[in-house]
Symmetry: C2
Subunit: 196 residues, 2 copies
């Protein structure tokens, strides 16, 4: 994770690299950065209002210096109980989680918390649009995977099944998100196909 989250100066350079050599397009930019840039583009174009939720931090000590901003001098990262991103698109509630893996053959379920799965299960049940954006960094492939698919594997894992989703399943049941110049991870294109 990088703080403060947002678009780095470097992104300009990365963009031109992306233009001249498409297969290296994502090198150096994390999935999270690409999504934040995409969300900003959606916001600028008035297409959707989707934001990253800040990481919750437990604040223990705050120092208030005279004539300047309060400084947190002791704080701890807390686990998220929801997904990373949510918002509004075409009157629908959007909720998703973004994950990268260096693995080439499977997507491991280990680094997703139980409360996040439960949250996603609720979102689906209450009529929200819920999905994962999964990037296989080595393959440089990014997929939109409906929450239902991941939840299926998660439930199987809890019953003693495998602890990951095979790459092949993600290719079959997911949707490739193409790399684009302006919306680097144009996931709303997939939402359009699936819901509108």
């Amino acid at each position: 994770m990088r703080y403060p989250s947002g678009i780095r100066r470097q992104s300009i350079k990365q963009r031109s690299v992306a233009k001249t050599n498409i297969s290296y397009g994502n090198r150096g930019m994390s999935l999270e950065e690409d999504i934040e840039q995409t969300n900003q583009y959606y916001l600028d174009m008035n297409q959707a209002i989707i934001h990253k939720k800040p990481t919750p931090i437990q604040i223990v000590k705050v120092h208030y210096p005279k004539r300047s901003a309060a400084v947190i001098t002791e704080g701890y990262f807390q686990a998220k109980s929801t997904t990373d991103f949510n918002g509004l698109y075409r009157s629908k509630h959007i909720d998703f989680e973004a994950k990268e893996t260096k693995n080439k053959t499977t997507f491991p379920l280990a680094n997703i918390h139980e409360h996040q799965f439960k949250h996603m299960q609720s979102i689906v049940a209450h009529g929200g649009i819920c999905f994962f954006i999964i990037r296989f960094t080595v393959l440089d492939e990014t997929y939109y995977v409906p929450a239902e698919i991941v939840l299926l594997y998660w439930n199987e894992m809890k019953d003693g099944g495998r602890k990951s989703i095979p790459y092949k399943v993600i290719v079959d049941k997911g949707y490739v998100i193409p790399f684009k110049y302006q919306a680097r991870v144009d996931y709303l294109k997939i939402v359009d196909q699936l819901y509108f």
Copy 2:
């Protein structure tokens, strides 16, 4: 603001105070605490999935001690660019801001940031349910005020108009949120009336 956000031990005591003397029901509990308790109740009852967004913090220094959790040793509070609360209810996107005032005759617009108004304007335009929960602490009255009303006054203020909304307007155009034992600020009752 209190950290970490959530329900304090004290809330149990407050609850019993509320039971025996209804007019002092909200004393000692902030509006934010009441809403967080209400959201937890909605979540437990599987009625809605609404969460408070953590305050964004710019992290400058992190210390990684051996065998214990990472400690943030320098961090700063950042301004929110959205509202405090959002989520999903009956397939609809919910987005709202909660504000308390000690004022008895007006609700001042000064402590709401321009980007928050713009965010709310977008939420309305994109089909979300958007409102303010405003508490007049001295009067111990809590109102659901549709975003449209507040945006109207905000636009007038930008054109040189008054910098607050008269209490009378909030009483006329808003909806009293009754104090309840379990859902202390049962705002979804008003959402039901207005949208379903």
